[in-house]
Symmetry: C2
Subunit: 209 residues, 2 copies
């Protein structure tokens, strides 16, 4: 149905960039198409001209946001040839690099799932693989067998890694209020964690350094 997409970009691209910013900050319900148009420096009517509706524009933002978060990760997490220790370093680094550029991303995605899980499921295809089949989980399981901590589900460790990496970004506004840090103070805190988190995680798995 779509005509050949005019790749002059410019206006179309500006709208999308503005939508990213506003949606991630305010969520779907809290964002007004007028604000997105203003942020993009264009007229409200153009938003509908290019993207038909607020809903359709939102869907694109959600998909690309998730794409950023998951696609690289999914590739990395399923590499057979990369060692578990190396993966822990890389996953931490990957998330931190991404989230430093998009600090609002975690809360945006998690918030939209919470506010309407059904809508979310419809908008994104849920990968159909079982958690236990993921290569990293298998690797962690083997590692834990060797070091005698078989009684713990390795999924706990993955959640720990993700929690310690992502949560500070989700809590960033609150942390900044409590600590009175500016953006630089927060960034320095995160850079320290880039080094520390892999050490903590490997210690949980009893991987010797």
């Amino acid at each position: 149905m779509e005509k050949g997409v005019n790749k002059d970009a410019s206006t179309e691209e500006k709208i999308k960039a503005a939508a990213f910013k506003i949606f991630q900050q305010k969520g779907f319900a809290g964002s007004r198409t007028r604000d997105i148009a203003e942020e993009a420096g264009i007229n409200l009517a153009l938003l509908n001209y290019y993207y038909r509706s607020k809903e359709k524009l939102f869907k694109i933002v959600i998909e690309e946001s998730l794409g950023q978060l998951f696609i690289q990760l999914q590739r990395l997490i399923n590499e057979e040839s990369t060692s578990l220790s190396e993966k822990i370093d890389k996953i931490t680094g990957l998330y931190i690099d991404l989230l430093k550029k998009n600090p609002n991303l975690p809360l945006f995605i998690l918030g939209e799932i919470q506010s309407d899980p059904e809508k979310f499921k419809k908008q994104v295809g849920i990968p159909d693989i079982s958690i236990q089949e993921i290569v990293t989980i298998r690797q962690a399981k083997e590692q834990m067998k060797i070091t005698g901590i078989e009684n713990i589900d390795p999924f706990h460790i993955i959640i720990n890694l993700i929690s310690m990496t992502i949560f500070p970004f989700a809590a960033r506004p609150m942390i900044k209020i409590l600590t009175k840090w500016d953006d630089n103070g927060f960034d320095q805190f995160i850079e320290e964690r880039r080094q520390l988190i892999p050490v903590w995680i490997k210690s949980m798995l009893k991987i010797e350094k």
Copy 2:
């Protein structure tokens, strides 16, 4: 200005309970007063009769939500007589107990701060104490001096404790989608963490069991 509050409760209380549920699920912008009224089983006009406006009702919900999350915690965290090890156990337990009853709480609060930090600051009084003065931070600092890990800011460890405890609840809808767990599966996962998190945290501080 308020007349002597009629502590028949009933209607007034029903509205507040409904507001808690709806606001926590959908956030401020995503919630409609009509939905809250319907959830409470009362007429829309009554909502304004008791609470004047959506904004004022929301403020109450935010304050009580934060109260639940922080007041008990603040008391515990500043007790001089409780040992660090004991506090770690208690903080974990306190959060898990609370969040099992209100799993949407973390995302609700963090999301509202993100969507409008200024409004949030106005609505709640921000405690004026420095982070470094908190008793638990001091205790952690001392412990880390003894065990020779002075180069790490103890605030990292506190953030780890909070991250590992709270994040799974913030990510609950996503975890349930990925793992295909029902509520029982998720609860069991959390109960395992109630035991595990203190062990991991104490290991980071090199507290011997």
